[in-house]
C-alpha cells in the first residue's frame, strides 16, 4: 500500500515535469511576442527591450524554466517590477493582470471547485439512480423515459442547455439571479443561487452517460450467479439490489467518475463562459490569448495535478471496493 503510494507519487512527479516542460516549449514556439502585446502604442524598441529584460524574457530558456521551477519549490525574488519577493509555491508574476499568479489562482480555483463538486454529486446521484431504476424496471415506461433522457443529454451541447436554462429561469421567470460567484463561506444562499444553473447544466449532460453506463452494468450484474445466490438465501429485494448487485455494478462507474471529475476540476471552460463566471478554465483560455506565460503554466499544472490525483484516487477506491485488487 505505502509502496504503491510512493510509486504513484514518483510517476506523478514525472508526469507533471513532462507537462511543465512541454507547456514551456510550446509557449516559446508560439510566433508572438508577449511584451509587444502589453505595451501601449508607440513603444520604442528600447523600451520593449527594457521590459523584456525586467521580465527575464531575454534569459536562456533553460534558466527561465529553472527559475520558474525553483520558485514553485522554494520561492524566489522576482524583482521590483514583479512584486518583489514571491514565496513558495511561487507561480510567477502575470505581466498581463499585474498580480502574482498565486493570487489569481486563489481567486479562480474556488470558483471552479464550487461549480464542479456540487455538479459531480448531482450527476452521480442522478445518473446512477436513473441507471439503476431503469435496469430494475427494464422494458417499462420508466426505462424508456430514462433512456430518452440520457439520449437527449448525450446529444446536447452545454452552451445550448445553458442558454435555455438562462433564458427560462433568469430572464423569463426571473426565479434566479444572473449567475455569479459568491464565496460559500460569505453567503451560502447566494453561492448556491448563483451557481445552481451551472450545476444543473453540467449534471444533465454528464448524468446521461452515467445513466447509460450504470444501467448496462446493473443489467449485467443482475444476471450474475451471486445475485441469484442472494435471492436464494431469502434476502429481500432492497438488500439484493442495494448490497449485492449495486456494489458490483458500481465499479466501472467509479473509474469514469474519477476521471471525469479530475478533468472537470482542471477547468470547465464552456460552462464558465456560458454562465459568465470567471473560473480556472476561463482564466486559462484568457492567459493563452494574451500570451501570459506564468498563468498558462499555473493553470496547466493545476489541471494536470487534478487528473493525476484523480487517477490515484480511482485506484484506491477500486481496491476499497474489490478485495481482489491488490495495490502494488
Amino acid at each position: 500500500m505505502s509502496r504503491f503510494l510512493i510509486k504513484r507519487l514518483f510517476s506523478a512527479t514525472l508526469t507533471l515535469f513532462a507537462v511543465s516542460v512541454l507547456t514551456f516549449l510550446m509557449f516559446f514556439a508560439l510566433p508572438r511576442d508577449p511584451v509587444s502585446g502589453m505595451c501601449p502604442k508607440n513603444c520604442s524598441p528600447e523600451r520593449l527591450e527594457r521590459v523584456r529584460d525586467d521580465l527575464g524574457l531575454n534569459d536562456p530558456l533553460v534558466s527561465q524554466y529553472a527559475g520558474y521551477m525553483k520558485g514553485i519549490v522554494t520561492g524566489r525574488d522576482l524583482g521590483s517590477a514583479q512584486g518583489g519577493r514571491c514565496d513558495a509555491p511561487c507561480l510567477g508574476w502575470s505581466y498581463v493582470s499585474n498580480e502574482a499568479v498565486s493570487d489569481t489562482i486563489a481567486r479562480v480555483l474556488p470558483v471552479t471547485l464550487s461549480i464542479v463538486i456540487p455538479a459531480a454529486i448531482l450527476w452521480l446521484l442522478l445518473g446512477v439512480g436513473l441507471g439503476m431504476v431503469s435496469a430494475l424496471r427494464r422494458g417499462t415506461w420508466v426505462d424508456r423515459a430514462a433512456i430518452g433522457f440520457s439520449l437527449t443529454g448525450a446529444s446536447l451541447q452545454l452552451y445550448f442547455v445553458g442558454a435555455v436554462l438562462l433564458l427560462v429561469f433568469v430572464y423569463n421567470l426571473r426565479l434566479l439571479p444572473v449567475p455569479s460567484y459568491t464565496s460559500l463561506f460569505d453567503n451560502p444562499a447566494k453561492w448556491a443561487s448563483g451557481l445552481v444553473l451551472a450545476w444543473v447544466a453540467l449534471a444533465f449532460l454528464f448524468s446521461a452517460i452515467y445513466a447509460r453506463l450504470s444501467r448496462a452494468q446493473m443489467l449485467e450484474t443482475l444476471s450474475e450467479d451471486f445475485v441469484r445466490t442472494a435471492r436464494a438465501k431469502g434476502l429481500a429485494k432492497p438488500k439484493v439490489y442495494g448490497r449485492h448487485a449495486l456494489r458490483a455494478a458500481i465499479t466501472p462507474v467509479v473509474t469514469i467518475a474519477g476521471l471525469d471529475v479530475g478533468g472537470a476540476l482542471g477547468g470547465t471552460v464552456i460552462t464558465e463562459t456560458t454562465f459568465g463566471i470567471q473560473g480556472l478554465g476561463r482564466t486559462a483560455v484568457d492567459a493563452v490569448r494574451s500570451g501570459d506565460l506564468p498563468t498558462i503554466m499555473a493553470t496547466v499544472l493545476i489541471a494536470a495535478v487534478f487528473v493525476v490525483l484523480a487517477n490515484v484516487l480511482v485506484d484506491l477506491l477500486y481496491a476499497a471496493i474489490d478485495p481482489r485488487v491488490r495495490l502494488r
Partner: protein, 380 residues
C-alpha cells in the same frame, strides 16, 4: 410463434388417474404436473412440461438430463426464483405442506434459505466476490433470525464452516471467496445453504466445476450432512456416476418432460427408456469390456420453443420407427414399466415404482436392451 396449446393428442393426460402402487403422504416436497413457460421474443419456451415427483426427508432424488432438459428450471421454480413477469408456472409445488405456486413473493422469500436452500454449480461465481465468505454465511443466517446478534451469527457461521470440514474456520471466516480453493468454496457454499437447517436442499450440479477427487469429498459431505440434518435432497446432474453414488431415486428428464423415473437400482440396472440407455452407453464402464465402443446419443437436444411432435426424443431414437408412427404423433405418458399398454397413465407425484414414458412395449424394450445395449458392456 406458437402460443396456443398443443394439439390434445400431443399431450399427456391432463388429469392422470393413477395406479400409484404406494403413496407416501409424508413427502416433504411434492411437485405435481409442473409446467414452466417463458415468453421470449422468439416464442414460448416450454422449459418444463408436466413433471411430477416427490421427495421425503432423508431421501435423495437425482434429476438427470442434458442441458436444456428442464432440470435447473424445475429447481429454480421450486425456490420461486423465476422472474414472474416473463414466466408462467402452473401445477403444484408443495414444500412442507405449503403450496408455493401462486404464493405471494414475500411468502416464498421467507421459505427460501430457511425451509429450502440451494447449492449452485460454480461456487466462485455464486459467492459474492466483494464480501467475506463468513459475512455471506452470517447474512444468510440473520435473514431468517433477525433477532440474532452479529456475534451470534458469526459464531453460527464459524460452526457451520467447521461442520463442513473447513480447517481454521475462525480465520477463514474473514477471507474472501477468491482466497478459497474450489473445493473449499463449495464447502462454504454448502455451509451457507445449511446454516438455517433447511428441510429441503437442492444441489444443482454441485460437483461439476470441481476436480474428481474433490467431487467425491463433496458428495460424501452431502451424504453425511443429510444423515445429520435429515433433509430431503434434490441432486441435479448430468453425471450418472454421481447419481449412482448418492441418489435413492432417479428422474430422467428430456425436453422438459420426465421420461423415466424409479429407484436408483431400477433405473441404473434395468433402464427402460432409450434415452436413458443412451446416457448409460455414453459413460465408460470400469467393469465392462475395456475395448467396447461408447455409444453416443446421435443428434442434439431439441429446441424447447419447437419441440418435435409426439415423443420429443423420437428424432434421436434408434427405435422410433417400431411404434407404427405413434412416436411421431403422440406424447407417451409416464406409466409403470410393466403396464400392458399406454392407456394406463400415471403421473402423480407420489407414484412409486419404475415409470417410463415410451411407446415401445415392455417386452420389446427388454429384448432391445438385452440385445443392443447390455451386450456392449454398459450395464453395471
Amino acid at each position: 410463434m406458437d402460443s396456443s396449446d398443443p394439439a390434445p393428442s400431443g399431450k399427456p393426460d391432463d388429469h392422470p388417474t393413477v395406479p400409484a402402487q404406494r403413496a407416501n403422504e409424508d413427502a416433504y416436497l411434492r411437485v405435481s404436473d409442473l409446467r414452466v413457460r417463458f415468453d421470449t421474443e422468439d416464442g414460448v419456451v416450454r422449459a418444463v412440461d408436466g413433471v411430477s415427483f416427490a421427495v421425503e426427508r432423508g431421501r435423495t432424488l437425482g434429476i438427470v438430463g442434458e442441458s436444456g432438459s428442464g432440470k435447473s428450471v424445475t429447481s429454480l421454480a421450486i425456490l420461486g426464483l423465476h422472474d414472474p413477469k416473463r414466466t408462467t408456472i402452473t401445477g403444484e409445488i408443495s414444500v412442507g405442506g405449503r403450496q408455493v405456486v401462486g404464493l405471494a413473493d414475500e411468502e416464498v422469500r421467507r421459505l427460501r434459505g430457511r425451509d429450502m436452500a440451494m447449492i449452485f454449480q460454480d461456487p466462485l461465481s455464486a459467492l459474492h466476490p466483494y464480501y467475506t465468505v463468513g459475512r455471506q454465511i452470517a447474512e444468510a443466517y440473520r435473514v431468517h433470525h433477525p433477532k440474532a446478534s452479529r456475534r451470534a451469527a458469526r459464531q453460527r457461521a464459524i460452526d457451520m464452516l467447521d461442520r463442513v470440514g473447513i480447517p481454521q474456520p475462525a480465520r477463514r471466516f474473514d477471507q474472501y471467496p477468491h482466497e478459497f480453493s474450489g473445493g473449499m468454496r463449495q464447502r462454504a457454499m454448502i455451509a451457507m445453504s445449511l446454516v438455517n437447517d433447511p428441510a429441503l436442499l437442492i444441489a444443482d450440479e454441485p460437483t461439476t466445476a470441481l476436480d474428481v477427487t474433490v467431487q467425491a469429498q463433496i458428495l460424501d459431505l452431502l451424504a453425511d450432512l443429510q444423515a445429520e440434518f435429515h433433509s430431503a435432497i434434490i441432486l441435479i446432474t448430468h453425471d450418472l456416476g454421481v447419481v449412482g453414488q448418492v441418489a435413492d431415486e432417479v428422474l430422467v428428464m428430456y425436453g422438459g418432460r420426465a421420461v423415466e423415473r424409479g429407484s436408483v437400482e431400477q433405473v441404473l440396472r434395468a433402464p427402460q427408456h432409450p434415452y436413458t440407455w443412451g446416457l448409460l452407453s455414453s459413460v465408460p464402464s470400469l467393469h465392462g469390456d475395456a475395448d467396447a465402443d461408447l455409444l453416443p446419443i446421435r443428434g442434439n437436444p431439441p429446441s424447447l420453443i419447437n419441440l418435435p411432435p409426439g415423443c420429443a426424443f423420437h428424432p434421436r431414437c434408434r427405435y422410433a420407427d417400431r411404434t407404427g408412427g405413434r412416436s411421431q404423433s403422440e406424447v407417451p405418458a409416464l406409466r409403470p414399466v410393466d403396464a400392458a399398454d399406454a392407456t394406463d397413465a400415471a403421473g402423480l407425484a407420489e407414484a412409486t415404482g419404475h415409470l417410463v414414458a415410451c411407446h415401445l412395449g415392455a417386452a420389446e424394450r427388454a429384448a432391445l436392451y438385452a440385445e443392443d445395449i447390455a451386450s456392449v458392456g454398459v450395464a453395471r
